[in-house]
Structure formats: C-alpha cells, structure tokens
Symmetry: C2
Subunit: 221 residues, 2 copies
C-alpha cells in the first residue's frame, strides 16, 4: 500500500515578529520544517513526502536545503490562499490509493508513536486523528456570557491526521468553508466519522516566540 505524508507550511512569520516564516527558523541546528520532515522519514523511509510551500518561499527553501545539506527526498507543491487550498493542491498530485498523513510543518516534535497510531487507525478504520486531553478547566463564551463546560468531553486536536487517500480526496472536492480548521473537519463535513488516536504532549504547534523556545528546549533534551 502506498503511504504519503503531506507537510503543509503556510506561515508568513507575522505572528512570530520575525522576517523569516516560522517553518524556516532554526532550532537545534536546523530549520523547523527539516525536523518535521525528518520525523516522517525516520518513521518510514519509503514514505512519499510532499511539502506544500507558498510559491514565493520555494526558492528560499531550496537554498536552505543546499545550505544544510538536507537530502531527504521530497516533492514540492505550491500552496494556495488558505490551508484548505494548499492541501487540495497536494492531494491533486496523488493518483493512487493508499494512506496519506497530513501534517503541520510547524509541529517538529511529533512522536513516532503518534504517527504510527494515526496511520494504523487509518488503515483499519479509514482515518486516525491524534488528540490529547485537556487538564485545565475550560469555558465556552460569546460576546456577553461564558460558562464552564466539562473538559473531559473535549480533546485538543493535533496532526498528522491520517486518511484513506480516496476518502480525503473526495472530502476535498467540497467547497471551501471557514469552519475548516483542519483536515478532520473537512472529512467530517463530507459525512464520514472521525476516529481519534493518542497524540503526544510535546507535539506543539509553533506559533509564537514562546513555542519556539519550548521546542528548542524539547529538541535539546
């Protein structure tokens, strides 16, 4: 069975307060995106890796690969205006059946077990979405009110989200909607049932300078 990993990099760097998009910032000797790619290569070195980048960042990335002597084979696909269109572009390059993992470029700390469980769930149940529990109290709010909700009924969702290629391709034929914050929500909207798997606490999404410092520490330790 063919196995793919689509690694989606969309960040422009604005929230980091840096010129360089966050996926290219160096932590623990190499750019964030190289760590993320390596995690999938370590998991399965026959995996077909597809990296989605904003068009204007592709040259820069290729120069980074030379600079860092980064030689894990991967295909590059141009991103779209929203994450949805970026993933759609990548899925359009896959013709065959199999399982595809869709991963945020800025999650360099995904564990081998998280990847493994999500792929295994997709192979048997059609999809596998890594999730972790919430240990703080949780409140739901609107403009005027807020109220406590039972945190044990909620999970924080991570990536890689793994799918049968045919299911997720079909789901991505839908019109784009703003509610689509991740691939599981796209699949769900197409009518399919979503299956949760165990994520890992370290698998943080790097979006601000605090996260970057934390990721550096976790990679060093």
């Amino acid at each position: 069975m063919n196995r793919y990993a689509i690694i989606v990099a969309g960040g422009s760097g604005s929230r980091m307060g840096t010129e360089i998009p966050k996926q290219f910032l160096e932590i623990h000797h190499k750019p964030v995106l190289m760590h993320s790619i390596s995690r999938f290569f370590d998991f399965d070195n026959h995996l077909q890796i597809i990296v989605v980048l904003p068009e204007k960042q592709i040259d820069f990335w290729e120069r980074l690969c030379i600079k860092y002597k980064f030689n894990i084979p991967h295909q590059i696909v141009k991103g779209g205006a929203e994450r949805f269109f970026s993933v759609q572009n990548a899925l359009n390059t896959i013709n065959l059946e199999g399982i595809v993992a869709i991963h945020d470029a800025v999650r360099p700390l995904v564990s081998q077990q998280t990847i493994d469980l999500a792929f295994a769930s997709a192979a048997t149940r059609g999809n596998g979405i890594p999730a972790i529990s919430i240990k703080d109290s949780l409140r739901k709010f609107n403009e005027t009110h807020n109220h406590a909700v039972n945190r044990s009924n909620y999970k924080i969702i991570q990536t890689p989200q793994c799918f049968k290629v045919s299911d997720i391709k079909k789901a991505y034929f839908q019109e784009y909607r703003q509610e689509f914050t991740d691939d599981a929500s796209v699949l769900e909207y197409s009518g399919a049932k979503v299956y949760l798997t165990e994520g890992n606490n370290e698998n943080i999404k790097i979006t601000n300078p605090f996260d970057l410092k934390l990721a550096e520490f976790l990679l060093n330790s």
Copy 2:
C-alpha cells in the same frame, strides 16, 4: 482593602510517578510551592498568604521551609478530601471584606501581569478569572461520536482566580458538586457572572514529568 492569596496544594505525587508530592519537587533551586508563594509576595508583600496542605504533609513542609531558609510569611490551613473542601477551609479563616486570589500551588510560572489583571477585575467587577486562547483544533466527544467545535468560542482557564471575599464565601456555602473543577465554577453555580482576564502561556499546571521539565526550563530562561 485587605488582599489575600489562598494557595491550594492537594497533590499526592501519584501522577508524577514520584514519592514526593509534586508541589514539593525541586525546580530551579527550590520546591514548586515556594516559587508559587514567591510570585504573590513579589506582586504585593502585604498580601496575606494562606497555604492549604493535606494534614499529613504539614510537618514535611515546615521542615522544607527551614531547609531552604524560606521566610515569606504565610499561614497554613489543613486541606479537605476534595479541592472544594480545602478552599472552604481556607475561606473560613478570612473574616474581613476584601479581595482573595485562589491559586493552584503547582502553577509556579504565573506572571505578575496575570495576577494584577485578575485582582483589578475583582476590584471593579467582583471577580477576575485568567484565561488563554486555544490555538489547536478542538473536538467534543462522547462514547460514540465526536465533532469539531469552534475553538474561538472556548478558553483554557488558569489561576489565580480572584474574587470579592463576600461573593466567594457565599458561593462556598453551597453543597459540593462534582462539576466544581475550579472556583469560577463554584461562583457561577451560585448565580454570579464570571469575568475573564488575560492569563499567560507560561502559567502551566504541573501534573506530569513533562510539565516539570518544562517549568524548570522556563524558570531557568
């Protein structure tokens, strides 16, 4: 106006895989609980600090204070079987009006700003509950189903939760309920409106070895 901080330590150490309860584990040269107390003393050295501890840990704590030459003045109150009863015991020692902050002993990284905003909100609106946004996707689930929810309608709740003493004392006259995961939920159940303030990302709750490592790193940096 009188200002109080009740710092609640309930942990037994089981989830940490250690013999020593997590509030007593040493990070960055002193036990977690001493860091938490120091944050409030640094904020206002006239604050009346009340530490709630399980009865069988009180001797150990007093010996730790001697060992570490820890001399921030604080009163010790015996804890109850649930966090609810621990807070109730501490509130019973406060007679006067004023503002009280109720804080988890295992949150040694609360910022001065988080404390300040919560106290200020309590002074003007009756209460102030620190909260942070959720940046990952969120799902609600039960035994058979799960579905995406809009993460921008939810917040992760932290401590210190600050209240007008009279309001929170009245709320704690209620019967204990299992839904009471924090003081804001106790207040809310008494019919009062809850006001959210800005928390800080670093203000993590130490519940497992990963958190402890992270807290050590954050305190060192």
